[in-house]
Each structure stands twice: as structure tokens, then as C-alpha cells.
Symmetry: C2
Subunit: 222 residues, 2 copies
């Protein structure tokens, strides 16, 4: 093991997460303030070192739980970043994941407001530690692309929702307007939605039918 490490690199391994949500009509990502060097006091993506015997995905879910309290949300491996100089102190390779969480799931009393954690609009990012801005750019690019050809956006919706809310979610992700009638036609044609029978009666207007997703995996996910 020692002779080996003279020739071969045995870097630290981390997982870093781009955890997205949508709130107040903005695509947001979770950032945490670093308490330690390097980049102390800088914002960064939540992450952590891989533990002994832990799979990469398990590590990612652990970080997710630690920071958000949630599990059972959409998550996929994004890319592995291994530039030799990405950590100024020692060689660290990070396996990046991205996750989607409906804001409603987060906005609970238990996720108390803390100053070392924030949800930042992806179009107004502070300076980030390490190569986290690259990671984030890549994650946003993938999310936008997948919104176009998969139903990944579902990962951001609450249990029940109006079609207009679903449309708004798509519009926020792809950063463009959609035609209401065409959108509704297309969504209903996929056959992934079902009416709940309930109606949303908030607001001074005609009530909206509430929908939910049929129970199934996210299609076309890879």
C-alpha cells in the first residue's frame, strides 16, 4: 500500500451536490459557507468526504440528508472532477451529483434558518470555493437539457399541483415562455399525469383541477 502510493495517486474523494429547488419563481441552488480552510468563509456546494465502505451514491445521499433532512428525491451522478490542482492543498477528486427538491418539502419548521446555508439564484451566484462554479454550470446545463426531453422537472413539483404551476416550473427551468394550450395538450398526452379529483380554490378566480404524477420512475433519465 505504501509502495503503491509512491507511484499511484490515492487522493481524497469527496461528493459535491448541486441541490436545486425553485422558490419565488427562481431556480435556486443550495450553498454552504465553509468553516475551514481552504476557502474558509467562502460559499461552496454542500459536500463531504467519502467514508470507509461507503458507496458514492450513499455518500451523496448522506450529504443530502445532513443538509436538507430529506431523502427520496431525484438525484443523479453528474460528472467527476479531478483536476490535480482543484484543491490547493492536496489531491482531491470529487464526484458531483445533482438533486431536485420541491420547495414545499424544504420549507418546514425543522429546516431552521441558519446563516451558513443559503439558497442562491443560479443567475446571481457569489464567488464559490474550488471549481464549484464549473460544477454548477455543468449541472444547470444538464438540468436545462433534460427538462427539454425528459420529465425530470417532476422532481421539483409538490404532491399535487395545478397545470399552470407545472408550466411555470418548466418556464423557470428552461428560462423561456411556453404556450399554454400547447403545453397542456402535450403534458396530458404523455399520460403521466392524473387528475386528483380535488380542486385548488385559492385566489379570486376559477378553481383549478389538481393533478399528480402517476406512480412511476422518471422516464428517459439516462
Amino acid at each position: 500500500m505504501n509502495t503503491k502510493s509512491e507511484i499511484y495517486e490515492q487522493p481524497g474523494i469527496t461528493v459535491d451536490l448541486a441541490i436545486f429547488t425553485v422558490n419565488t419563481n427562481k431556480l435556486k441552488v443550495m450553498l454552504v459557507k465553509r468553516a475551514e480552510d481552504p476557502f474558509r468563509e467562502n460559499w461552496s456546494l454542500p459536500g463531504g468526504f467519502l467514508l470507509h465502505g461507503e458507496s458514492l451514491q450513499a455518500a451523496a445521499y448522506r450529504v443530502l440528508r445532513e443538509k436538507t433532512g430529506v431523502k427520496n428525491v431525484y438525484m443523479e451522478q453528474l460528472y467527476t472532477f479531478g483536476d490535480p490542482k482543484r484543491d490547493p492543498r492536496s489531491r482531491v477528486i470529487t464526484v458531483a451529483y445533482f438533486a431536485l427538491i420541491p420547495w414545499k418539502v424544504l420549507d418546514q419548521p425543522e429546516s431552521k434558518k441558519v446563516t451558513d446555508l443559503t439558497w442562491s439564484s443560479v443567475d446571481q451566484l457569489p464567488k464559490l470555493a474550488f471549481d464549484h462554479k464549473d460544477i454548477l454550470k455543468y449541472a444547470v446545463k444538464r438540468l436545462r437539457a433534460k427538462a427539454g426531453y425528459s420529465n425530470i422537472v417532476y422532481g421539483l413539483m409538490p404532491e399535487q399541483f395545478r397545470l399552470s404551476e407545472l408550466q411555470t416550473m418548466y418556464e423557470i427551468i428552461i428560462d423561456d415562455k411556453l404556450d399554454k394550450r400547447n403545453f397542456r395538450k402535450r403534458m396530458l398526452a404523455t399520460n403521466l399525469l392524473q387528475e386528483t379529483g380535488e380542486k385548488d380554490i385559492t385566489g379570486a378566480h376559477r378553481p383549478a383541477m389538481l393533478y399528480q404524477f402517476k406512480k412511476m420512475e422518471i422516464a428517459f433519465s439516462n
Copy 2:
């Protein structure tokens, strides 16, 4: 560093490559016979440990050059496999890449036939070491998917080619027949091809116009 390694995993890091080519109308992948334990004498994907100061991509290109003698071919990072038990002896995480090489480039005198290296049809694979069958399945899936919506297939073509050869290449990758007229219309409509002016006069039939790709990157690659 020592205290750290008591808590955190510092695994060996390898890169493994699914190097594809097409020969005799079959999609083939390079396999190498392992000379060492574990899995001695088993076939495996070509790979190797990450060296000090080496980026992941550089490691992948190094392995590619060692095994094929080529560079400047299409390669992309595929996925990172980190199951704690994927190597029976110690923790090793592998970053998988896939590469595409035109057979003509490989079929040179210098790539002498050796018995510890083979090109295996992806539909007739031997037993593979580690989790390499999973890696390969994932690579084939990605290649097939990308053939449908990108021009990645270009990475397998020689400098000049007939349109019928290009069509055959697509048919091998996606494992389905295509309509000749529609295929030609679609390809020429992309505006990525240009006539070379030369003709292929092999065979007892009408000569075919030879085409080449306009010089540009592979589109839609991520």
C-alpha cells in the same frame, strides 16, 4: 494525512476505457487479458491507475495511447463506479470513459497482433473482470442513445467515405435498418458533410461520391 485516512476513504483511482470500433459489420470493444490478480487471465476493459499530478482525462488518454497508439479520437467521460466491493482486494474507484476509433486507424502494421488484446463484439462478450460488464453495458447504452440525436457516429468513420458506408455505420450502432433515401436527405440537410470531389471506384457498380466531415467539433456532445 494519516489521521485523515482513519476516517476517510483514500481509495485507489483508476480509469477504465470502453474503446469502440466497428469492423466486419460489428460493434466491437477492446478487451485486454489481465496478467495479475485479481481476475488474472480474465478479460477486462483497458485501464490503469491514476498517476501523481495527472488529470483524469490525461490518464484516460494515456491508457488510450498505450493500448492503441492513437490520440485525437472522440472520448468522453462516462460514469464513475465506486461500489465498495467492486475490487475484492482494496477500495478502488474507477472513472469510466468511452472512446470511438475508426477501424482503419487501428488496422495498421504497428498495432501488431497480440494475444492479450482482442476486439470483442459487444453482443458476444466473454466473462469480464470486476464490474466491467456493467460499465460496458452503460457505455453501449450511451453510445446507442447518442447516435440517435448527435453526430457522434462520425468518430467511427475514416477520413473519406461513401454515404452508404455512413448509413451502414448508423445501422450497426443502433442495430436497426434505415431507409436509404430518407437517410441521405437527412444527412445532407445537416450541412455537416461535404463532397470531396473524388469517387470511390471499387466494385462492379456505379462509383460513389466520397464525402468528408466539415472541420468542426462533434455537435450536441453533452
